[in-house]
Symmetry: C2
Amino acid sequence: LAFSIKAESESPRLVSTQDDIAEMRLAIEKPGSFKTKFEQQKRSVDKQMEQAITVPVPADGGGGYTHERHKKNYKLMYQAGMLFQLTQDKKYADLVRDMLLQYADLYPTLDVHPKRKAGANNPGKLFWQSLNEAVWLVYSIQAYDFVLPNLTEKEITKIEQGIFRPIVKFLSVDSPATFNKVHNHGTWLTSGVGMAGYVLNEPEWVEQALYDLDKSGKGGFLKQLDELFSPQGYYNEGPYYQRYALMPFITFAKAIETNEPERKIFEYRDGIVLKAITTTIQLSYNGLFFPINDAIKSKGIDTIELVNGVTIAYGLTGDTGLLEIAQIQDQIILTGDGLKVAQALDAGKATPYEFESVAFGDGADGTQGALVIMRQASSNKATETDSQAVLFKPAAQGLGHGHFDKLTWQFYDKGAEIVSDYGAARFLNVEAKYGGRYLPENKTYAKQTISHNTVVVDERSHFDANLEKGNANHPEHLFFVNDKNVKLSSATIDSAYEGVELTRTLALINLPEQDQTLVIDVFDVNSKKQHQFDLPVHYQGQFIDSNFALNANDKTMSALGNENGYQHLWLKAQATPDAGLARVTWLHDNGRFYTQSSIETGDSQILFTQIGANDPNFNLRNENAFIHRVKNTKKHSFISVLEPHGEYNPSKEFTISATSKVSGLAHVDNDNVTAVLITFLDGKEWVLAYNKQSVTKTKKSEFSLKGKKYKFSGQYLLQKITK
Amino acid sequence: LAFSIKAESESPRLVSTQDDIAEMRLAIEKPGSFKTKFEQQKRSVDKQMEQAITVPVPADGGGGYTHERHKKNYKLMYQAGMLFQLTQDKKYADLVRDMLLQYADLYPTLDVHPKRKAGANNPGKLFWQSLNEAVWLVYSIQAYDFVLPNLTEKEITKIEQGIFRPIVKFLSVDSPATFNKVHNHGTWLTSGVGMAGYVLNEPEWVEQALYDLDKSGKGGFLKQLDELFSPQGYYNEGPYYQRYALMPFITFAKAIETNEPERKIFEYRDGIVLKAITTTIQLSYNGLFFPINDAIKSKGIDTIELVNGVTIAYGLTGDTGLLEIAQIQDQIILTGDGLKVAQALDAGKATPYEFESVAFGDGADGTQGALVIMRQASSNKATETDSQAVLFKPAAQGLGHGHFDKLTWQFYDKGAEIVSDYGAARFLNVEAKYGGRYLPENKTYAKQTISHNTVVVDERSHFDANLEKGNANHPEHLFFVNDKNVKLSSATIDSAYEGVELTRTLALINLPEQDQTLVIDVFDVNSKKQHQFDLPVHYQGQFIDSNFALNANDKTMSALGNENGYQHLWLKAQATPDAGLARVTWLHDNGRFYTQSSIETGDSQILFTQIGANDPNFNLRNENAFIHRVKNTKKHSFISVLEPHGEYNPSKEFTISATSKVSGLAHVDNDNVTAVLITFLDGKEWVLAYNKQSVTKTKKSEFSLKGKKYKFSGQYLLQKITK
Ligand SMILES: [Zn+2]
Ligand SMILES: [Zn+2]
């Protein structure tokens, strides 16, 4: 077998090593943020130790007393175990020993948990599901590893026979479906069992954890690393679940590295563990994760899973940019890598972390569509953090937590969401709100297409909101350009609706000469039959103005539709703008104005809506949108420009550039080339043209505009028109 | 005459003195925040000096080109003049001289401003109204004072004859109504003229500025100090206008002190100028002014007028608490007092500013009702700034900017508005929103009673929204108690509605034993005839839960009423809670839950509303309220308790105490005593009782509760009931 058995005296041997411990013992003698954290944790554990040990017979489901008690127990054992290593004070080791002895008494008496759902295939014993049981094992085996030097042979036998061997058996050979499954629950099970293998000197467990129970490689930790992440480290449920999934990957990988460095686990699949960590960071704006799919919006990079991730990544790479993230996280971890982070932060070594424009290919092979992030510094930037981001989502469905939002986009500016996604409809752990679970409105509104900024055909959601169909199909990502002043991406899908092809091209451009950034959106819809097409813009802020008349439903208003999310939208007003340029301006709390200018046909409508209809328990946030609607149409291009401008500063009593500078917009579709012409109030004109297919840098394209021919090489042309 | 004429070489002689300048010249040689500010201002002025001087013929109204140009000119002259004093670089003095010479050429040619409103009695010449003309004089006379040592006799003659003597004449003897008026516009005129009197050696002007044109004392600056502030320094339009009014008071007072210290202007009326400054600070929460009357909510203590106020107050008192405010303001002023603030801040002398519980008597004599601020540290306080405040408003009308909101309240906690006031309906300077002026909805909604948290009778506003009636009547403030754990205040008014007496008693209490703070609200309505009474709670946050069923208007909803603000409220849902305790819980973005528990009769209703009906231009913010409604009633007491509780932390994934701990509420009305009994889930009971009249500390009161007699001395009793 691949790893040599170590003596018990070589404890600890998982996330932190004996060398780490030696360094940490020195560090807690000197002032610094590591010592501060150590003392804080010591106070917390000392306080908990005033209470008697309680290892209750499992009775309650998630959130209930016994569930929470067993969670507290594994955290306390882990922390006390580490304190024993750091202080060598036996009282901490005794706590872990006594608690584990009680578990060793209890565990053999347990059948599956009484709150196990009938027919559920992932039961636990201490907890209602095996996921929590595995998390218990991941923490407790580390605690056990910490205190091993303080245990007698007899205690070791009792603990291993009473709890660790039975729980490993229960989570592996007795739970083959979950253990072998390529899914984040499986990662917790394989990680717990594998780490127990190192500590109990059972190389076979490690092999099974890595390669499936039958060691075929069809399941297990490595297969999970192969399939749950794209080659760039993107997890297809989105960042909210990615940061959650991260924890067992990084923990077990670290333990593998400690015990069997020859496996080069951190080099596996071209460094996929590290990529998974850095991609999680990249999938954030102003500290918060992009809220795609089922995501709670306040979750951000300071989440404990990513604190661990950044700590381990810094330990591996010494990348000082990661220290800036650690600084924002402001949480020191008591591990060897945590010490390195603390010392580097104390020494002021942090450098700015580079947030990049990236197209993250989706799916295990990276070809199932993509999640595209385009960024640039805001041209009129006020602060270092004043950057812009466009999220473009021609990504795969993202399994059960995915939303029916193919080709949707979001826009961020000056620290805030401007064109937004609802995120998940959920009040986490708030009992009064549907027990703290996903609200019914998560399905009836948040997952539906109309709650996103993408085209809805005939008021039906993509794939008719059928998850299986969603999982079986994905958009094709056509191209991505990341030049200094132009970020450009395009994607298409013909499976969201039968007989309808949706193609969207988004550009985030910067016109330095005019001190202006813009988002250009070209959404082409092409169908065999006539349909109604709706393209919503869910905006954050206060409506200021439109250059067309609104017909407000001002004494009575009704829901916009009956199903697929439409039943949750109040129709506040409607308009039929004249042919030409339609403008909608709103003001965000961040003090900046935003204008969307769009090309109107003269018979298209704009509907103004607010979330809140058919919501008798007031579960939804009352946010606003406007919806571009065309009816009885086979082919349509929605063309628009989003323009951030000006400043509203009532505190200092000034308002500047409250009105849009875009005075005209034209669209030309020439064979392979689409061109958008933007005219500004001062007469300046710019054209953005692109070849609709992915082309090489030398490929020549041409198009005509206002009787003049233009040629360009490569994917696009951004040019000022001289008259 | 009272002041001795100083030679021209004694310039400057207004806000900063020669001694100040000497100190400032030393300070700009040494590193520190004063020098930093000086260099910043110098860069700004140097940049503006690259442009040619422009003194255009007046043409435009407020916001227009010539209006803004003349405003920029006086600011530039003031800053350049001060730079000349500090650097002794003649180029700055030459700028002021050249500009003033151009004004001296222009001014004698001007008639009243072309944009003067027909029939308006306060025209300007450089500006459309005399207010701006006076502000021009206040700044320009200081600039002139700064550069006097650099002017020839001929230049002096030209400037004084061409501009200063004519503008003083125009603003004083030619504008007697405005000059003599006891109003903040009058303060600017008297201040400008008085300061010009010191500089041009015209003691008569000073006398007129102080005592009315006829020196009778019926008008003028001192009369303004007598009447525009209450004895405690409260300005009855509220803090938003108070900070604006402050500027000419403090500027002219400082100039008086410099020239005629024997007038003891800062001791005048028991130190009213200083009180006006500190009261403005006190009328804020978390840096923002309480938004009563026509107030834009983002205005706070960092406003430039209060920066000047705090600077002068620190110069007078050396109170290091003011330095904490200056720290928050983060703006250094280039004056003698500004230097003192800068040096003290650099030396780390700032100490916490004490925000207090105060009843500010309203009106010139302090007896026209009161504005009551009750504060306490939040018992479960997380940070230093985690304090609570109740604003209770049995104040006078507050003139033209006043709202019809007698006895309304607001509640603030954990940095945020919880029970809120709409403030003004206005987007300052946003042309698309009604020219940036007060929106029509300011009158149709924001000023109306229903937009406040006070009782509305028969869907009509207080005084039927008649300003004259409002100004002629005011509530009677009955008492105010400011004890450690109990802040208590009561007031009554019988003139808001004919035949209806409204009496409200609010208490902000702290039960340290239970780690709980509460607001107790007793609103007694007593009328001769039957009426409908509505008591709204405008809350900020997301509705979580009620302990009674809601009947939601979920497919169609309509405006609640037709006029007096009701036409702007959508009726989202209604309920008729059972007799007993009704609970409404919401969650604020600050992460805390709030529950209002109220006593219901069984036939009273609760209506859930959202602002936005009859708002065809989307001018209003879509905020939520619930309204307690009783119909066909002569006498009713609305009894409620507001309870902050728990924490929602989706980022760290925990939620604690999401439900109310109040399980019962009872109300006893015994002759002179009202008692409210609060029962908690754990069985603990507390009674708050108070004598309804203002009584002495020794006055004995008694009441019966559940068959038991209670006695207390003084205004109130807060007692835990033992069984
Ligand atoms: Zn979504
Ligand atoms: Zn108001």
